[in-house]
């Protein structure tokens, strides 16, 4: 943010959804249908305000809105400040734009749900928190949003709370995120301790000037702490286990929170703190390893899933890995680029899945779908377009961003992992191929062939199809539009994110682009053939290597592993501490002392008869005894 500030009115962007949440709940209690209208309107108003600001935002400037001083104590000063720079502008556009479409979609999707006033209130509250996150002018306001979106995620995953498994999934999401947040907090403490501020505008020069006597180790430490936070929110290994379970929430929630916006908050945070990360090459190497591992593990897990939402969930985890790869290479604008294109096509895919689930009367298993292209043409086409986009096939949007990620990795100039980068690239390309493969698999199983279910599938109403069409168009052409081909270059727009790294400029012919799409084309083609023509082949593959197929369908047994080495031992420890230490040892000692006093008291009681004559006798005896003791002996 090393640019000039212009003061502007930013708070309404966040305020509309907050007000919307209150009104949707209060008025929605009386008339359920109002909730959706209010919430959608609030989100749309917020979007319009964003457009208005972004339109007026001059190059190399940012808007600032100082609201009030939140915390002020000794040296600790935290202002409640909103800022819109180019990075926030991009994020706000995505959050409010895609958010509004998903609100509109939800009005139809949640049409029959008794608790939809609650749903829309939470959804708007989520928008509020997410906007705090991307508008916050310092890490603290960002953190408010950060935990706020975690809360809304918790509430929405467990929205159908009568199902205890869903509620447990919400709790899991919150707790796992909290582990990340603990790391995030430590990062904040370190920054406060050694730099004294978390304000981005003040932090950047303080860090980049290098005159702080902090050293690389400090940067690495802070960067790793913050990355732990990002791992939680953006579902990276080892903290990704909550995201697949988060599919318990209503599908629009999965689209908005667990695909398009909230889970990209970690990527946003890395980009926002990019000036710190580029000074910590060791931390970036860690980010790369985690990102590549996550992308690969999630992609392979997605291969064997039958629940359409689970496929998309693992795909999201995998794609988030791709975003972090770009960030690890220092190409933060590329990471944001993929955040944007991913928001388009993944939101479309999730909403498409929602449309299918809605059309098939709450069927999520792809084995009971098939042939839906006849019954749900719009859903089918939009889903197909998005599959091509995520597969990274030219000209669809996923191609541009994924290609940029690979380009960034090819120019890896980090001394760490330098000799490994070629092998890593092969793994990444293989993962990209897998992405194309499993997404095509999901498309074929859902839309092609014969219908295998027992419901009566039907196309969804217009509030659901319109967002699908809009997102599909964005997913198709969004990449081209942002990559400079149509006069707007995201790279140029986000130039402030180039911390020292020189921008690579490369123009390629369409033929070259098609050739570069080979991983995607191969994946799509192979899956298409395997799942339409050679239907026995996938099963044969899995039977060939039983342990592998078991590992994949068992999702690498992360949940089982964590259960065995963390959750159950801790539960056991808790019970032990209570029963043995607290009740047994500590209270045992306390009660033991009491019992001892009680018992010896019984002995002494023999002397306490309460009879005056007895006491007088004792007194007399004692006196005689002492007189004899002193004077006679």
């Amino acid at each position: 943010m090393n640019q000039a500030a212009i003061s502007a009115t930013i708070w309404p962007i966040a305020f509309f959804p907050l007000l919307g949440a209150l009104l949707a709940y209060v008025l929605g209690r009386k008339e359920r249908d109002w909730a959706g209208i209010i919430a959608t309107a609030a989100s749309a108003l917020s979007f319009l305000w964003v457009v208005k600001l972004v339109w007026a935002l001059p190059e190399a400037h940012y808007f600032e809105d100082q609201l009030f001083q939140w915390i002020s104590l000794a040296d600790l000063k935290v202002d409640f400040t909103f800022r819109v720079d180019q990075l926030s502008a991009v994020m706000c556009m995505v959050v409010t734009g895609v958010g509004t479409l998903i609100h509109l979609y939800s009005t139809a999707y949640m049409h029959e749900d008794e608790g939809r006033h609650r749903f829309f209130a939470y959804l708007n509250l989520f928008m509020f928190s997410m906007l705090l996150l991307v508008l916050g002018g310092n890490l603290m306001v960002l953190f408010i949003g950060w935990e706020g979106v975690g809360l809304c995620s918790y509430l929405l995953i467990g929205f159908w709370f009568k199902n205890l498994a869903y509620a447990a999934a919400g709790r899991k999401a919150f707790v796992v995120n909290r582990i990340g947040d603990a790391g995030f907090l430590l990062g904040i403490f370190l920054l406060l301790h050694l730099v004294g501020t978390t304000d981005f505008v003040a932090l950047q020069p303080a860090i980049m000037s290098g005159n702080v006597a902090l050293g690389t180790d400090f940067y690495t430490l802070v960067a790793l702490c913050l990355f732990v936070g990002a791992c939680g929110k953006s579902a990276q290994i080892p903290l990704f286990v909550w995201l697949p379970d988060a599919m318990a929430g209503p599908t629009p929630v999965s689209a908005l929170i667990h695909a398009a916006t909230m889970v990209t908050a970690g990527v946003y945070m890395l980009a926002r703190m990019g000036f710190l990360f580029v000074l910590a090459p060791a931390a970036l190497a860690v980010v790369l390893v985690v990102a590549v591992a996550t992308a690969f593990v999630a992609a392979t897990t997605a291969l064997t899933q039958y629940d359409i939402k689970k496929v998309l969930a693992y795909s999201t985890v995998s794609q988030l890995g791709f975003m972090f790869m770009a960030a690890a290479a220092g190409a933060f604008w590329v990471a944001i680029f993929h955040v944007v294109t991913h928001a388009f096509f993944k939101a479309c895919l999730f909403l498409g899945a929602g449309s299918v689930i809605h059309g098939c009367h709450h069927e999520q298993d792809m084995r009971h779908m098939g042939g839906l292209y006849k019954k749900m043409p719009i859903t089918c086409i939009t889903y197909g377009v998005s599959v091509l986009a995520i597969a990274g096939i030219f000209f669809f949007s996923g191609y541009q961003s994924k290609h940029a990620i690979l380009g960034a990795l090819e120019h890896w100039h980090n001394p760490h992992l330098k000799e490994w980068i070629e092998y890593i690239l092969i793994l990444v390309k293989f993962t990209a191929f897998l992405t194309a493969f499993y997404m095509t698999r999901s498309f074929v199983m859902t839309f092609l062939g014969e219908y295998r279910g027992h419901a009566h599938p039907h196309e969804s109403p217009w509030p659901m199809t319109v967002p699908l069409i809009v997102l599909a168009v964005l997913g198709a052409f969004g990449g081209l539009a942002l990559s400079g081909s149509l006069g707007f270059s995201l790279e140029h727009y986000l130039a402030a994110l180039n911390f020292g790294a020189a921008a690579e400029h490369h123009h390629e012919s369409i033929a070259a682009a098609l050739i570069n799409s080979w991983t995607g084309l191969l994946g799509v083609g192979l899956a298409f053939v395997m799942y339409t023509q050679l239907k026995e082949l996938p099963g044969m593959f899995l039977r060939l290597v039983p342990p592998l197929s078991k590992l994949l369908s068992g999702k690498y047994y992360f949940d089982e592993l964590y259960g065995a080495i963390i959750v159950r031992p801790l539960e056991g420890l808790a019970a032990f501490l209570w029963k043995v230490v607290d009740q047994g040892m500590i209270d045992g000692m306390v009660n033991g002392t009491a019992a001892f006093v009680d018992a010896t008291g019984e002995l002494r009681r023999i002397t306490q008869t309460g009879q005056l004559r007895y006491y007088a006798l004792m007194l007399f005896g004692a006196t005689v005894f002492f007189i004899i003791f002193y004077y006679v002996l």
Binding site: F68, Q69, W70, I71, S72, L73, A74, D75, L76, F143, I144, E147, G148, L151, Y154, G158, F161, K162, N163, L164, A167, A168, G170, R171, F174, V175, R178, I179, D181, A182, L185, L186, I188, F189, L190, L192, H193, L570, E571, L573, A574, A575, L577, W578, K579, D582, I586, D587, V590, A594
Partner: protein, 547 residues
């Protein structure tokens, strides 16, 4: 001083109210003891007390770092005991917390079915004792109020408590008395030592806090005696096992007062007495206190997780939360100490509210077993909403009050005690685990119609009880400035005074130490004995002549 004794009025108004409750014929024995009049009268008394205490805040000058609203009257001159009360930024907010919670407790007394008059009278006496402890600037006065807190709470638990109330009440009293007896010995030793040097008997806190005649050895013993008393009260691990029993057996109002205010007295004692009086020992004890505090944070959270009784869970969560407060204070910088005070207020609000919520359930179902509930969110949505908000406040979600306190404590402590703080951060995760597990098990899932089908949502009266707490959760989370502004100068000054005194004591060997050393050297010589008694006699004569 011809001014209106505002502080004393606030302290003694509840006591007078308690007496009137018994004397005033309208509440006499012929009246129905459960009459609304008793409750209404107590309500009026506590509300007036609260309004008066708001005047304190209004008249409080944050820039004046000394004690304010001071009243200093000679009480027992021959023992150097004065009636000396005053207020600084730290005690101001604890006084406000007390006066704020009491009307809520009175409002929540509807669930008390027997001997309402005795119950509310005990509460009012308790309030006076608590307020007195918070404003006392004379050690003797402090001790009297400190001990006076015990009796009414003993009755509240022992008479209006649950099945094992006698055991819990006795345990509570014995634990506390054990600590405070040691403190009493310490007080007398300190006063005696002061008398040895200055020839004046005084219990005045300000004089004793300037006393420089203690050896480090003596400081350590005295600090240990004081700290033990206070650690039991907080309670700091491993002196906490009275707390779960007391909470489980206490009636709702008793739990609210116990968690809301009384636990803070322990830490307040450390702040007001132990640290200023024995600064060098305090420094030596810091790693141990911080260690116990951090163990308390994690241990309390872990044990809370294992609980099957809602109230016990909340009680153990108190051990965890108070651990944060102790850590923040002993880390001893402005941010962490202010966070500690702030967190004490937060804990009073959020844990007080959680106990009230447990009370709401208990009134309806007469059980506190977690397994007896489940799926309540569908049946009692307003209750579920309140429960959620106070849960979030308890687990320190940003924009609730809990976050400000926890953040200040951890951010501040991190600068002084990074190792301890990193462990304490684990509590941030564990807090979410046990609270959300409790929330899930009680509020989510299918409702058991046979057991909870007839459950009714919070009544209007209950809603009124929760409303002020709910408002404070957000006010203190979004705009903590008025609180922090009033706290900051006091705390800065407090830390400066203690640290300067510590430096001063370190740099100059105290006079009486030298004297003691000389005494020891001369012990073999019989002649010095007469010298010693001579000095003591001289001192006595000097004192007599002064009087």
């Amino acid at each position: 001083m011809s001014e209106f004794p505002l502080l004393s009025s606030i302290v003694f108004l509840p006591l007078v109210g308690a007496i009137l409750l018994y004397l005033f014929p309208g509440f006499g024995p012929r009246q129905d003891p459960e009459s609304r009049a008793v409750r209404a009268f107590s309500m009026v008394v506590t509300l007036i007390t609260f309004v008066l205490s708001l005047l304190l805040w209004g008249g409080f000058n944050p820039q004046n770092t000394g004690y304010q609203f001071v009243e200093n009257k000679i009480w027992l001159p021959s023992f150097g005991i004065t009636y000396h009360v005053g207020l600084d930024g730290i005690s101001l907010f604890l006084v406000l917390l007390t006066t704020f919670l009491m009307p809520i407790v009175v409002l929540a007394s509807n669930s008390v079915e027997k001997k309402v008059r005795g119950y509310l009278a005990s509460m009012l006496v308790l309030q006076s004792a608590m307020l007195g402890t918070l404003v006392a600037l004379d050690m003797f006065l402090f001790y009297i109020f400190w001990e006076l807190m015990l009796a009414p709470m003993y009755f509240i638990i022992g008479v209006w408590g649950g099945k094992r109330r006698i055991y819990a009440a006795l345990k509570f009293v014995l634990y506390t008395v054990f600590g405070s007896v040691l403190m009493l010995v310490g007080i007398f030793y300190l006063v005696w030592a002061y008398y040895q040097q200055h020839g004046v008997v005084t219990f005045g806190l300000e004089s004793l806090a300037r006393f420089n005649g203690l050896s480090v050895q003596e400081e350590v013993w005295l600090f240990a005696a004081f700290a033990l008393a206070f650690c039991i009260k907080v309670p700091v691990f491993p002196f906490h096992t009275w707390l779960p029993d007391a909470h489980v057996e206490a009636p709702t109002g008793g739990s609210v007062v116990l968690a809301g205010v009384m636990l803070k007295m322990g830490l307040y004692g450390l702040i007001r007495l132990a640290y200023p009086l024995f600064p060098r020992a305090a420094e030596l004890f810091t790693p141990y206190l911080a260690g116990l505090a951090v163990i308390g944070v994690v241990y309390g959270a872990m044990v809370a997780w294992a609980q099957k009784d809602i109230k016990k869970l909340v009680a153990y969560s108190s051990v965890s939360h108070l651990g944060y407060c102790v850590l923040g204070f002993v880390a001893f910088n402005t941010v962490s100490a202010a966070g500690s005070i702030y967190q004490m207020l937060n804990h009073g609000i959020s844990t007080g509210a959680l106990f009230l919520l447990v009370g709401v359930l208990y009134d309806r179902r007469h059980t506190r077993e977690i397994s007896e509930y489940g799926g309540l969110a569908a049946r009692v949505p307003i209750f579920a909403f309140l429960f959620l908000v106070f849960t979030l406040s308890s687990i320190a979600l940003p924009l609730t009050n809990g976050f400000i306190g926890e953040f200040l404590i951890l951010a501040g402590s991190f600068q002084e005690l990074p190792g301890f703080t990193i462990v304490a951060v684990a509590g941030v995760v564990l807090g979410a685990v046990y609270m959300l597990t409790l929330y899930m098990k009680t509020m989510y899932g299918e409702i058991d119609e046979a057991k909870n089908g007839a459950l009714t949502d919070v009544s209007m009266r209950e809603l009124v009880t929760f409303a002020p707490l709910l408002a404070l959760v957000f006010i203190m989370g979004i705009y903590p400035k008025p609180f922090l502004n009033a706290l900051e100068p006091t705390i800065k000054n407090y830390i400066r005074v203690v640290e300067e005194r510590r430096q001063m004591l370190k740099s100059s060997a105290p006079m009486r130490t030298r004297q003691v050393a000389e005494d020891q050297a001369a012990d073999e010589k019989i002649s010095s004995v007469s010298d010693k008694s001579k000095t003591a006699l001289d001192a006595l004569i000097v004192k007599r002549s002064k009087v």
